[in-house]
């Protein structure tokens, strides 16, 4: 019998990893990811999880160890945040290019400088071109569920790609939420054993991560791109199966009163739930407004997004990262690009805010939406608007 328990989200994520019977964990602690890997170390030390726990000297080493582990066909997990993710950067490209199904929880945190341990999305946006599947969750239950799904998606023979599950640092990692942890037998049924097709094996030697001359490099990269794009159908299939098994539904673009709404607010991550309360209050005041959230960031859900916002007049987007000197937040610029060639697209107002752990409250969202509607009506000379900065 599954029960809902009050548990810190990081601990629940570690427990979800235990339920997947992960073989290898190689990780380096960094705030606010620490509790995830600490609890995993505890589970391994207590014999509750039969895995190799490799305490490495850096995140670069953590991801490198994960490459070797996944290449040997072992189910592999790691977690990091912010500077740790930045230090892994070059190895992230290797993991996806070599098609190694590593699962990584990323506790989203601002990148230095100035130093901030608090949440924003500058870390996850800095790795959007690394070829990983990226799932963004909004609460603890979603984190638990999607860590389990991530293994099933990444290890699928049709996918074989690494997967990041992004959960906001502190706002999710350090809060206690009521969470249903699935039963072991249910997870065993849902998640097949990892069968990497060409593992490192002395009896059948292969060379991995080899050199590709110009004559095949483009073909290799296009194969990787097609593979990542095609992974979307496996993601959808996995979430569908997850719903059948556990009763919780996930979609690449999740809608909240957005069908038929003239104004839509688009968010990613944990602010979504606060924003939903603002949407409720505005709707109670007869505002024709809804919300969409991106659950899947890579592969980018073009069709689902276009469908979700096609009837809106105004689309207000909140980014928690700045693309310095660029066209606005990464989410807004990608959404704009996705809609550019559409007939009858909404006006887009791009906000950047909630940086480095600053909260946007329900009142704050209502204020931001009001400003957004005004800007959509009057136009703005800015590429994007910064929200909440003191002038």
């Amino acid at each position: 019998m599954t029960t809902r328990v009050g548990i810190e989200v990081s601990i629940a994520v570690a427990d979800a990893v235990r339920l997947t019977n992960t073989d290898v964990i190689a990780a380096y602690p960094i705030t606010p990811q620490t509790h995830i890997v600490e609890h995993l170390a505890e589970l391994v030390a207590n014999g509750e999880l039969d895995a190799e726990y490799i305490p490495v000297e850096s995140e670069h080493s953590a991801m490198s160890a994960c490459l070797g582990s996944a290449a040997a066909g072992a189910r592999t997990f790691t977690a990091t945040s912010s500077q740790g993710l930045a230090l892994m950067n070059e190895v992230l490209y290797v993991a996806s290019g070599m098609r190694l199904p590593i699962v990584m929880a990323v506790a989203n945190r601002a990148l230095s400088a100035p130093l901030s341990i608090w949440c924003d999305h500058s870390d996850m946006m800095s790795v959007r071109d690394t070829g990983w599947i990226q799932i963004i969750v909004e609460n603890g239950q979603q984190a638990v569920d999607n860590v389990i799904c991530a293994f099933r998606i990444g290890e699928d023979r049709r996918v074989l790609l690494p997967v990041m599950v992004h959960l906001d640092g502190f706002n999710l990692t350090h809060v206690i939420e009521p969470i249903v942890l699935p039963e072991q037998r249910e997870v065993d049924k849902f998640l097949p054993t990892n069968k990497y097709p060409l593992p490192l094996n002395p009896d059948k030697p292969v060379a991995m991560g080899d050199f590709a001359p110009p004559v095949i490099f483009t073909e290799a990269k296009w194969a990787q791109e097609m593979n990542l794009r095609d992974s979307k159908k496996v993601v959808l299939e996995c979430w569908d199966e997850f719903y059948k098994a556990f009763g919780r539904m996930y979609k690449p673009v999740e809608k909240y009163h957005s069908d038929g709404a003239g104004i839509i607010l688009l968010t990613i991550g944990s602010v979504g739930e606060t924003a939903s309360v603002a949407i409720d209050e505005l709707r109670a005041d007869d505002e024709n407004i809804g919300q969409v959230r991106l659950r899947l960031w890579r592969p980018f859900p073009f069709e689902e997004l276009r469908q979700a916002v096609k009837d809106a007049e105004v689309l207000i987007i909140l980014d928690r990262a700045i693309s310095f000197g660029g066209p606005g937040g990464p989410v807004a610029s990608e959404v704009k690009a996705a809609l550019y060639n559409q007939v009858g697209r909404p006006k887009i107002v791009s906000f950047v805010g909630a940086l480095g752990g600053r909260d946007i409250t329900v009142a704050g969202f209502k204020n931001m939406i009001k400003k957004g509607i005004e800007i959509a009506r009057t136009g703005s000379k800015n590429e994007y608007e910064i929200y909440g900065v003191r002038e």
């Binding site: 070599m98 074989l160 097709p197 991560g209 004559v215 095949i216 483009t218 290799a220 194969a223």
Partner: protein, 98 residues
Amino acid sequence: MAKSESELTWRDMEIGCIVTEPGGARQYESGTWRSQRPTYDFKKCIKCGICQLFCPEGCIEPNQDGYFEANLFYCKGCGICARECWPRVIKMIEEEEK
């Protein structure tokens, strides 16, 4: 016979470009990188083999007469052999020179 590299499409790529057969490096003609090539005055050669020891490509072997000579399929033309050859057997010349 498998397709040559230039005939492979993206659909032919092995997962993660994993190499499942040995000998791939042997097939790779690194000699195309060369802008200079070694020439030999074997009359001076004492067959000491120092050129072979220093060759970073490992492409120098004794020929039929026992003189050490680079395999131009692999030789990148770095000129290290010419520099190390103290009896001055080896001289580097531009590729376009006859």
